[in-house]
């Protein structure tokens, strides 16, 4: 009975380790995510509509990558990309929508 319990525990630990290994981000994953984020951020800059929160998330992503925490770095880079894309969408929408607010 005790032996079975140990085997079960060992199997569970092995599964957990495998799962972690399967989902752990690598430096390459970060580079891929960061490249997409930088492209989106450059597009936002071209529209003169960057958000400070995008810059904050990018900074956090770089710091996490420098510390070897690639899971965190990828997550921050993806967050920055989402923010950059939202700022692009805002700029495109406002290109016409601002006129609705003008005092007439």
């Amino acid at each position: 009975m005790c032996r079975f319990a140990v085997i079960r525990l060992a199997a569970a630990a092995l599964l957990a380790a495998s799962a972690t290994a399967a989902f752990a981000a690598t430096a390459d994953d970060f580079k891929t995510a960061f490249a997409k984020t930088e492209a989106a951020n450059k597009a936002a800059a071209a529209l003169k509509n960057q958000w400070t929160t995008t810059a904050d998330a990018l900074k956090a992503a770089r710091a996490a990558a420098a510390a070897g925490k690639f899971d965190e770095a990828v997550k921050d880079a993806q967050q920055a990309e989402a923010l950059a894309n939202a700022s692009i969408a805002q700029a495109k929408e406002q290109a016409a929508a601002w006129q609705q607010a003008v005092i007439h």
Binding site: T53, Q90, A96, A97, Q100
Partner: protein, 276 residues
């Protein structure tokens, strides 16, 4: 509904593209909006920003103004203005009327460069013509110089011209666009605070109306613990709504100052000001 809104927006754009931008009509509508919304505020009092909106704040301001917090900047600005450059010339040599009592004419549209020139930019152009490095548009020296020049213009009505030049009209229109465009993660435009929410509170502050907003610049802000130029005010507003600020005196900032100053035509210069 969405189609109708999109069609209306496209229609408005097309109308503007066709050259129907009418600064005078905008001016009348802008003034009518604020005077109707705040019927008890005398027209010239709009230049006093939040103090024209809130009696309690006004009492505090009157007390504060007995010993104006911008006085040190004013003294420094006067000294800087009168101190000759190494070549013997002074700022006075760069400006009409020797730089005294001219704040109400800035910004202006410069036909030669095709751009809007603010007082701050004109001061740095003067320095460069006299072999001096430009001053930082957001720092104390620029605030001191503009404070002194505003002080010599107190009470003089804004007199901003939009010459018969399509480039000037385009600059005006870009300024108007900047003013009404939402930006930053908080999705605020300048108008969100200074038109739609003028006179209301944002946390403990009373939001100043856009009418007369630029008349008090530069300002001493208690929140900053020091003086602030127009550039500092604009970059700080951008940061507060979580938008990355533009470069100080960026073309868009100069255009929005042009637009807002034109909207304040006829209102007296009240700078330098003091704000909470």
């Amino acid at each position: 509904m969405l189609i109708a809104v999109a069609a209306a927006a496209l229609g408005a754009q097309a109308a503007r593209a066709a050259g129907t931008v009418d600064p005078q009509a905008d001016f009348k509508a802008f003034r009518a909006y604020f005077t109707k919304r705040f019927p008890n505020v005398p027209l010239n009092d709009f230049v006093n920003g939040p103090y024209s909106m809130d009696a309690g704040l006004r009492k505090q301001w009157i007390e504060i103004d007995a010993f104006p917090p911008y006085q040190f900047a004013l003294d420094k600005g006067k000294q800087m203005f009168e101190t000759p450059f190494p070549n013997g010339k002074t700022y006075a040599d760069c400006f009409p009327n020797k730089g005294i009592g001219i704040r109400q004419n800035y910004p202006y549209f410069d036909a030669k460069s095709g751009e809007v020139i603010t007082l701050d930019v004109a001061l740095n152009q003067c320095r460069q013509r006299n072999g001096q490095p430009p001053l930082d548009y957001t720092k104390d020296d620029m605030a001191a110089l503009t404070a002194y020049m505003a002080y010599t213009s107190r009470g003089k009505p804004f007199d901003i011209k939009i010459p018969d030049d399509p480039r000037a009209l385009a600059a005006y229109q870009k300024g108007e666009e900047y003013f009404y465009t939402r930006r930053g993660q908080l999705n605020f435009s300048c108008a969100s605070c200074h038109v739609q929410s003028a006179g209301e509170h944002i946390r403990t502050e009373v939001l100043a109306p856009a009418l007369g907003l630029v008349a008090a610049l530069p300002i001493y802000r208690s929140e900053w613990g020091g003086m602030g130029t127009t550039s500092r005010r604009l970059t700080s507003c951008n940061s507060q709504v979580r938008a990355v600020p533009l470069k100080p005196e960026d073309e868009q900032y100069r255009d929005v100052e042009y637009y807002l100053s034109y909207m304040s035509n006829g209102l007296p210069i009240s700078g330098p000001g003091a704000r909470p």
